[in-house]
Symmetry: C2
Subunit: 192 residues, 2 copies
DNA sequence: ATTATAACAAAGCATATGCTTAGATATATT
DNA sequence: AATATATCTAAGCATATGCTTTGTTATAAT
């Protein structure tokens, strides 16, 4: 009955996500998206309606992406405090290689986006709740493993750790490595 | 020998700072600046060269502004731990009034700006070093007052607190009040 | 009073922006 | 084979963007 798409919507969406991640929302033009996604503007608009919506979809995709590529170790069954420590220390890794840390797409967007943009705000919150859930599981596993005190208030401490991660996502973009290491060290000391 | 300026450069700069603070760098147009600063584009360009430079100047102005209007209590001679606690709790105040917290101009910009923009990066770092200096003084005062252990490593803990503040600047824009309070509570517990 | 200079307002410039339209092409159904 | 429909490319649209130019006005020195 009709012609087939020459592209996979999910694949081009992931490419769009990377463009937003690299440049931020406002600094990403539809021409840039067109080029990186490898499809025509017509196709972008017919698949994703408009730039704002494509951004929302990219935020959702980002959650999927980090799930597989960034938080994999922390999401493994039984992940506990030492895994969290290993993970947090990755915020300092790029300093050795000399590369610039581009930050977390969601944290960057939290800074950039107008707080009155409710559609985006909801999606940002979804992400943070996903992270918090992960942290709760890690803390729960850590109690079970005897890493931390059994009466640790998991909800309170997962909120704290979420805050620490938000701070690191900002700090790691501009602060020297030793400052980042201090933040991690003191943050984890609350479990001792 | 010539006509006088009808505006005060420093006053219109402060207005420009607020426009950037409210909208972010990319989402601020020269037309918006023109309107809010109350001067013509010609005057903007003759006083501040270009938009990028006006932004840099606005970042410097911001430091001056928060010095007077945001951190005044923490910069008072002898400010110590309880003052820091009072200050941090302000991150939750806007929740009661229902207003949206627009964040810290510098933290927002850290998220938005391309890390490769060295001119901006330097200015962001200047700001963070200003905050860190303030925190060091507060910690030093706190030791002197006997609030915290005398062998507290001021440098390490000021780095930690800077990280906490960066986290709160992000978190307070989107997270519920109780989560912010948890972050503050646990953060300050490291001094007990 | 004349002149030189700098600030002013407003229009203008080239280009970039988000998004749409027009026409060609491919494919599944009849 | 003919038709209908969804996809493709590429050009186009109105407006917004950062920045400049033009011509006028005010002021200080001559």
């Amino acid at each position: 009955m009709s012609r087939h798409k020459l592209y996979n919507s999910d694949e081009v969406l992931e490419k769009a996500m990377h463009v937003f991640w690299n440049n931020g929302y406002e600094n990403t033009s539809v021409r840039m998206l067109e080029k990186e996604m490898g499809i025509n503007q017509f196709s972008i608009y017919s698949s994703f309606s408009n730039k704002h919506n494509l951004f929302i979809e990219s935020l959702k995709k980002y959650r999927e992406y980090v799930n597989k590529n960034v938080y994999a170790d922390l999401l493994k069954p039984g992940a506990r405090l030492k895994d969290l420590e290993l993970f947090l220390n990755r915020f300092t890794e790029h300093k050795k290689t000399g590369k610039k840390y581009k930050g977390c797409l969601v944290v960057n967007s939290t800074g950039e986006i107008n707080p009155a943009d409710d559609v985006v705000s909801v999606e940002l919150n979804n992400y943070y709740m996903f992270i918090k859930g992960m942290l709760k599981t890690v803390l729960s596993n850590s109690i079970e493993a005897g890493d931390i005190s059994a009466d640790t208030d998991i909800d309170v401490y997962s909120n704290f750790l979420l805050g620490v991660m938000q701070g690191l996502s900002v700090g790691a973009k501009v602060l020297p490595g030793n400052q980042i290491r201090d933040i991690i060290k003191v943050s984890l000391s609350v479990f001792k």
